[in-house]
């Protein structure tokens, strides 16, 4: 049973009361003469009422209002001519062959609608079950919080992996390895393997965004979420792997080879800047063959260590060797 949206003139809400459910009143145009037969031949009312026994009226009203505002049915002139009662439109010629196409489109739309409403129903049922899982996990988390130290490491790990499967945020604050689970530990080891060579090719340091793209492009499927990557990287140092996660003051996150000493790179950065007199992040990046993001971080670190000082103007941020230090 379906009514084209184009038949709707106006919609209004009726609040629920004692003994009566919330309703949405849908005022309609008069039916077009070629309307398909429905549950009733005719009605003395020019509106229908949708009754919402439990809930859903707010969402339904919102979506229906959106559709009424967007009026997407007006973008498809072909199917328009069959359904609405707008009278003859100037310039719209209805060729006979179109009717068959319109019917097919209509059928396809009905079937899609049916599929979607079935999908929504099934989705709602699924969500109810998911909610039960969330409630259960909350109750377990509370128990763990209360009994600090009485839950074994094993049980905590098990619990964390359950949460990971469901996509429930970890509410337990006692963390040894961040939100790390067995999965993340495995992942950390894999990353150490995958990233060794790319890191060496890039001077020992890569931003986490670069790593995310590199790793996921290589995988092709079963991709890592950004959080998976971060959680795995947080465990690198603890697992004594040859890479580490580093967070700069600006919040930029990078992966470095353990052997990489950013502070030493600063010395060579100072040389480069001195040779050229002064450099912006972009110029430095181009010279050295780094991304602008990491170039900037290196120059900022050099500044922090007192080797460079900045000239901040509308022309951009330019770094100079810190002569205050060297020539006093």
């Amino acid at each position: 049973m379906a009514i084209p949206l184009s038949q709707i003139v106006f919609i209004e809400e009726q609040a629920a009361g004692i003994g009566k459910s919330a309703k949405i009143v849908v005022h309609l145009h008069t039916a077009p003469p070629n309307k398909e037969p429905g549950p009733f031949q005719s009605s003395k009312n020019s509106y229908i009422k949708l009754s919402f026994k439990e809930h859903g009226q707010i969402e339904f009203y919102r979506r229906l209002s959106e559709e009424m505002t967007q009026r997407r049915w007006e973008n498809v002139p072909v199917s328009q001519s069959l359904q609405t009662n707008r009278g003859p439109q100037p310039g719209r010629i209805r060729a006979v062959g179109i009717v068959g196409i319109e019917r097919k489109l209509e059928e396809k739309r009905k079937e899609t609608d049916k599929n979607i409403s079935e999908a929504f129903e099934d989705l709602s049922k699924l969500m109810i079950k998911a909610k039960e899982m969330v409630e259960l996990s909350k109750s377990i988390a509370n128990k763990i919080k209360d009994k600090q130290g009485d839950i074994t490491e094993d049980e905590t790990i098990r619990f964390k992996s359950y949460l990971l499967s469901m996509g429930i945020a970890n509410p337990v604050t006692r963390e040894t390895y961040g939100s790390g689970t067995q999965y993340h530990m495995q992942l950390a080891r894999q990353l150490a393997g995958i990233l060794q060579v790319p890191l060496e090719e890039r001077g020992g340091i890569m931003s986490l965004t670069e790593v995310y793209c590199l790793v996921n492009r290589a995988r092709g499927m079963e991709l890592l979420s950004p959080e998976d990557l971060v959680n795995a990287c947080k465990m690198l140092e603890a697992l004594k792997l040859p890479l580490r996660l580093r967070v700069f003051d600006s919040g930029v996150m990078v992966i470095e080879l353990q052997s990489h000493k950013e502070e030493e790179m600063v010395a060579s950065a100072l040389e480069t800047v001195s040779e050229k007199g002064s450099l912006t992040s972009e110029e430095f990046a181009k010279l050295v063959g780094m991304s602008v993001l990491l170039a900037k971080e290196r120059l900022l670190l050099a500044e922090k260590m007192g080797h460079l000082c900045r000239d901040d103007s509308v022309e951009g941020l330019r770094f100079y060797p810190n002569l205050f230090m060297t020539q006093s």
Partner: protein, 258 residues
Amino acid sequence: MHRRGVGAGAIAKKKLAEAKYKERGTVLAEDQLAQMSKQLDMFKTNLEEFASKHKQEIRKNPEFRVQFQDMCATIGVDPLASGKGFWSEMLGVGDFYYELGVQIIEVCLALKHRNGGLITLEELHQQVLKGRGKFAQDVSQDDLIRAIKKLKALGTGFGIIPVGGTYLIQSVPAELNMDHTVVLQLAEKNGYVTVSEIKACLKWETERARQVLEHLLKEGLAWLDLQAPGEAHYWLPALFTDLYSQEITAEEARETLP
């Protein structure tokens, strides 16, 4: 004597009761964990069934994805938290959004030199669709926003700034506070903004307006036009509609990975 005996006994009793209680507490948690494990298996089966019937719907229908995401958020579940989650594994939602994340990063990097790291959601949408090619699944603006929200975890300054009914996506860690954001919103109308306009609309002092504009210039988000009629115009390349149609050049694409 008698009293002390009772006292000691009472303490011992209490200790025993506590120990039993603790033990019981552990047992209770163990029970619940076992229960959760069983329920998880059942849920996994339900999800598999759902996936077998409706996986296509999620792939093809952006509206349905929105519904799905909203429902998950309502009950406190993040289907995109991990690629190892059931949702990702069985519905394939994960791969869809994580790959989109990669594409978003690449587009933003390629265009950064043009717009300083600020891009409208529309332009990002267009460029991403172009990059995906004719036969790829449809991607909605809502999808982009969700993917970007996830990318924030990578710590590289992805931000979403509401302006005039749409959004500006920030992809570099430039410091943008409320003042900067408000001026960006003001600029959205014409693609540029002037000191007088800021003073008139926002009722600010000249100095405050100048500082904000200077910051935007420094960060490469605004360009200074001294040849405009009247006073200096501050243009925001992110808002240039002409740039929408321009392709990402091969050189720009190469710039993304040094």
